[in-house]
Amino acid sequence: MTSRHTVWLVARRELRTRLRARSFLVGTAVSIAILVGFVLMQSTLFGGERVTRVGLSGQAAAISAPLAEEARSLGLDVQVSTVRDASAGEAAVLDGDLDALVTGTPAALHVVVDESLDENLRRALNTLVQEEVLRAQLAAVEELDPDHVLGTVADATVDVRSLRAPDPTHDERLAMALVIVALLYLSLLLYGTMVAQGVVEEKSSRVVEILLAAVRPWELLAGKVVGLGLVGLAQLTVVGGVGVVLAVVTDVLTIPGVAVGTLLWGLLWYLLGYLFYATVFAAAGSLVSRQEETQSVLLPVTSVLVLAFVLGFGLLSRIPNSSATAVLSVLPPFAPILMPGRLALGTATGWDVALAVVLMLVSVAALTWLAGRIYARAVLRTGPRLPLREALRKA
């Protein structure tokens, strides 16, 4: 009997056991529901906490204090700074370090933004310009014509220039990015934990002893990882597919092509991320002998996933174009969650994706080797938690 057949037998048991469990159906339904609520909640949270960073250049530096005051009265949280010159400011806007660059004289302000100007900020700036114009009109008081003054003041608004054409689908893309980030985080966490729990179940029930009399440790590990991975892939496909169809049918999404693409990229990154995390979860699980100890031994691994998720949500919704987002989205522990988000936003270049995939594959290979060693050594040891150092040493 070949190893491939053995791995398939083990995987098939996992598939049957999990797919037949009621918890799979309930879990799928609940994750759809959680997802919807989660995204709604997150979007309001992020909306409320937003700080708008404005850079002032040249004579516009004079509006620093009034702008801060005006913004506060509009309920806008503005952080004002002075930039050396206009070109440095524009670079900062492109990088996402500044939300808006303001130049020109107080009576004729020019605003440079990445895609579009925040409406509250526009109102604040307009008020400042109009006050300035009004002040000039009042200075020439002998020729005062009220209608003329009001007309001039009303015409005085800031001049806005966008560095990039605003993307009308940006909000939809951002929503999809956040959904795919959340879905991948949940899937990786859930199925990684299942792998660890499966390993611990076999250890704590001692069934591993007769299993290892028939199959090699790596065959048992590979079968478990493959089986649960397929279950997770099935669930993600169902949840994602239902989500895309519902969103398109209800006109929430107007870009079905991008939605399907996002889902497909998401599935690919699920597979890569699952292979990355599952073997680590399995190795961690093999260090303990009782289910009660599973959570504590998994904590370092789940922490990395949580960090990736929190970073992904924050970076993608606030500074999707920053170099920090680009760098983190290529690094293996974060890539499976960040990269599909960037792909949904359409901000990832082909090179970014290629580099991230290569780094991912290399680290999957290295981790599988390492985790396989730890697992093979630790899986038959019962009793207290096995220190990692001991599991790595030659048995």
């Binding site: 037998l9 083990v10 179940e201 076999e202 069934v207 002893e209 009399a213 028939a214 038959l380």
Partner: protein, 298 residues
Amino acid sequence: MLEVDGVTKRFGDVLACDRVTFDVAAGELFGFVGGNGAGKTTTMRIVLGVLAQDAGSVRFAGAPVEHAARRRFGYLPEERGLYPRMRVLEQLVYLAELHGAGINAAHRAAEHWISRLGLREHRDTELQRLSLGNQQRVQLAAALVHDPLLLVLDEPFSGLDPLAVDVLVEVLREQARAGVPVVFSSHQLDLVERLCDRVGIVAAGRIVACGTVEQLRAGTGSTLVVEAPDAPPDWASGLPGVTVLGVHSGQTRLRVAPGVDDQPILAAALATGRVRGFTHHHPSLAELYRDVVGVGSR
């Protein structure tokens, strides 16, 4: 058929197996006897490939044991364990397949052992819902379900009710008759004596005696029970070639060295007064075991 040759295994400072050597022929029932921690389980796990030995070799049918050969062995581990949430039939079919059986053969064999071991009403029950005794039966079926070429059973009788013990004895004899070498360990020495063709006694990781019970007896002489109610407790102490095993309500148990004439013993007994009994016994395996391992009852 199974040859264990010089198998040595060390855990830190503990030498669990020290050049353990024995062989089991086709169709032979081999009893593995020894105290807790003597090295029985470690030896069995090495035979099954669950542990790797530091030195020595295990051969089966003349060839060093590889993964493919081990897959056809049947194993009942000392620490029992199966999937608690898996149904009995499914579990046995799965294990048979893992051991290389085709799906149809696996189903047939699983059904066969389920009815043979009296589990038919539980075939679709989750293992964790069965009584401990029935879980033991499933565990036994798991060792047998793939039609093994060698059976290695670690304490198969512990936790079995008397009826299940009878079934197991029958099954083991049947397997041996079919030519399967059977190795099992047990603390129930009377059972081992009744069942086994040959016995290996292990102490502190070494095989200290190995052979048929007759062979083990050969060097030890016999046990003589003398019933002399009037005799003082130490009446036999000075006799050459005689060891006093115990004195209990007028009965004196003596170990008589091989080749020693028993007539002077009878004469000495008669000298103390009445003699009501004078009987030779073959030492039981339990007595032999105590002799060999050295924790005597004297």
